[in-house]
């Protein structure tokens, strides 16, 4: 019974923790402009994150080594350092975007300007990272994040023509007034939103924090293969409801308030309130994961003690990085840079940085020295190789597309 409960809890937190500010904003924007014609990218992204997370989770469970340990070990200090700089820039950008997201969500509730809220939120995030138990942090925020299921309810209440919606998704029916290159840019952005590098840093390091062993592989796989796809359904529901509400109006989504608007249209105040709770929980949870990921990765690259499973003074340098990241994020957001813009940039650069971490994990997940009998099977390697190519193409295309389309303008 206890086992069933822990598996169910893991799946639920995986669902609630799947969506972050990148998914919220990008899916709503794409839904409003392109309908569900890019829905297949979300599906491809979810399968990709499942493949990637399963591999890194399996390596962590079998070898007790997390992502950046492996990157340093397989690529050496030179490539590893280039990798660290690129990945940490993206993760810090995502961290800034998530804290900005919490601030924007609280602004919707309180009508206090988000810039004033930022320092308090950054402090709260740091306090959680410093004091809260790892499992409590993950479970509470993940479960409250389930409030975003309200987007599914909203889509159902809006009563769209389901046949038409699925047809547009399957037929890749791009609206006539949009260009293919803009469409391609948003495809890369959606892919980056679903496959953000920090998710894997956090997932594998979290596995080490929770002392996963070979016995936990089943639970880990259940979380990944059930939790992530169901979480991804929330992404599709956000895109779908934005498509139904904004599509006919030819409006674009530029604020977090507009992301929640379809819920308000469908379900009124109560629905909106639930959506706002979901926004805060999802972005706060992701902010904690991003902040920890920065600390995890730098410490793993350098060989320092890291993790919340030891006392803070034992992992002093790790905790110093957490403090510094919170300070940097506050500083950047206090410049009044638009958090939505930061989010848009972070998802595209996620797509750029992804192959750097994906490739070494793919190699090590095949190495019997590390993995014993748990190396990649045929299916994992077939999917792994396909995604190696897909991720590579997305990474190469991202910046040229960003320039040509002027960030999807």
């Amino acid at each position: 019974m206890k086992k069933v409960f822990s598996v169910a809890l893991g799946v639920l937190t995986a669902i609630g923790g799947f969506v972050d500010i990148g998914d919220l904003v990008t899916n709503a924007q794409v839904g409003a402009r392109f309908g569900l014609s890019l829905g297949w990218v979300v599906v491809a992204g979810i399968l990709g994150i499942c493949v990637f997370a399963e591999m890194s989770g399996r390596v962590a469970a079998v070898s007790q080594r997390a992502t950046f340990d492996l990157i340093r070990e397989r690529l050496g200090p030179r490539m590893g350092m280039a990798n660290l700089v690129a990945s940490m820039s993206v993760t810090l950008l995502t961290f800034i975007a998530e804290i900005g997201g919490v601030a924007l969500a609280l602004q919707l509730v309180s009508s206090v300007n988000y810039v004033l809220l930022v320092p308090f939120i950054a402090f709260a995030v740091w306090l959680i990272l410093w004091r809260a138990k790892f499992s409590v942090m993950e479970n509470v925020l993940g479960l409250v994040g389930l409030a975003l299921v309200v987007f599914g309810v909203a889509l159902w209440q809006l009563g769209p023509d389901w046949g038409d919606l699925t047809h547009r998704m399957l037929a890749v029916d791009k609206p006539g007034d949009e260009q293919w290159r803009t469409w391609a840019y948003y495809a890369v952005a959606l892919f980056g939103a679903a496959l953000t590098p920090y998710e894997v840093f956090f997932f594998s390091s979290g596995g080490v924090e929770e002392r996963w062993t070979v016995e936990d592989l089943g639970t880990m796989r259940t979380n990944v293969f059930i939790g992530f796809p169901l979480g991804g359904m929330l992404s599709l529901a956000i895109a779908g409801s934005a498509a139904v509400v904004f599509g006919p109006m030819d409006a674009s989504v530029d604020t977090l308030g507009q992301v929640g608007l379809p819920v308000a249209v469908a379900l009124g105040k109560i629905g909106l309130a639930v959506a706002l709770i979901g926004f805060v929980a999802a972005t706060l949870g992701a902010a904690c994961e991003c902040g920890l990921s920065v600390g995890y990765s730098i410490a793993q690259f350098s060989g320092w003690q890291w993790g919340k499973y030891v006392r803070a003074d034992v992992a002093a340098r790790f905790h110093v990085i957490l403090v510094l990241s919170a300070v940097v994020a506050t500083g950047v957001l206090m410049t009044t840079v638009d958090p939505i813009l930061v989010t848009e940039a972070s998802v595209v650069f996620s797509a750029v940085a992804l192959p750097l971490t994906y490739f070494p994990i793919l190699v090590v997940a095949n190495d019997p020295d590390y993995m014993g009998d748990h190396t990649n099977g045929r299916l994992a390697n077939a999917l792994g190789s396909v995604y190696l190519v897909v991720i590579g193409v997305a990474a190469l295309a991202a910046i040229p597309l960003m320039v040509v389309t002027r960030m999807g303008a």
Binding site: V62, S63, Q64, R65, D69, R72, E73, R74, L75, G76, P77, R78, G80, M81, Q300, S302, G303, W304, Q305, W306, V310, V314, F359, L362, V363, N366, D367, P368, D369, Y370, G372, T375, N376, N381, A382, G384, S385, L388
Partner: protein, 226 residues
């Protein structure tokens, strides 16, 4: 996971850049470099793990930018006589080599500065490999080690992987020719199609300064899996 130290292992692939873990499972440092000592004429072995910036920074010093970085780092501490002196962890303190290097002692005071003693693995990896007439064959990509039998057996160098590219760029596909995924396997093995193995005994000459390893091309053998 088996203890890698029990059999034949590769210094770059299996030791370098691994996490060092103490007896209480706490994280100590990375293996930033290895200390190589010449025991007798022609007998070379690993005597210590080196760590800290003094060991790590020179590993970036491969090209001009790296050398500039090393010089810059040294200038930051001009007053320190031991600036270039890395921390040592004696190889005898290593109990087991799995996904990490496991020590038999706790982490308090385990890293010691004792002055530069032997050679560094990194210096060896920077050496050009030439044939007897001085034509360049490539460089040392990895160093094959084997532990002498017995409880106090030394970790001896038995041979070298020689080829083009960078140390570590074989990613382990030389040791495991059947390792997947197929796509990466073929690509890496194609890039390293000219790489070969040479026994330490077949090395015609090893000069640390000014630096070159001379090898008779006839002594080069095909790489073996293990």
């Amino acid at each position: 996971m088996d203890d890698r130290l029990a059999g034949s292992l590769d210094a770059v692939l299996h030791l370098l850049d691994r996490q060092v873990v103490d007896a209480d499972d706490l994280l100590v440092c990375k293996v930033d470099d290895l200390e190589l000592t010449e025991f007798d004429e022609g007998v070379l072995g690993v005597t210590a793990l080196l760590s800290g910036p003094a060991a790590l920074v020179p590993r970036y010093a491969d090209r001009r930018l790296g050398r500039a970085l090393h010089e810059f780092w040294r200038r930051l501490g001009r007053t320190d006589a031991d600036r270039d002196d890395p921390y040592r962890i004696d190889i005898d303190l290593v109990e087991r080599l799995g996904s990490g290097v496991e020590l038999s002692v706790g982490h308090d005071g385990v890293r010691v500065r004792q002055g530069e003693r032997g050679h560094r693995l990194n210096d060896l990896l920077q050496l050009p490999v030439e044939d007897l007439s001085g034509r360049r064959l490539g460089r040392v990509l990895d160093v094959r080690l084997e532990r002498e039998p017995g409880p106090a057996g030394r970790l001896r160098v038995v041979g070298f992987v020689v080829g083009h590219g960078r140390p570590g760029s074989y990613l382990g596909y030389d040791r495991r020719p059947d390792m997947g995924p197929w796509l990466v396997n073929r690509a890496v093995r194609w890039l390293h199609r000219h790489s070969a193995y040479v026994d330490l005994d077949d090395v015609a000459g090893l000069d640390w300064v000014p630096g070159a390893m001379r090898v008779d091309p006839a002594a080069l053998r095909e790489l073996e899996a293990a």
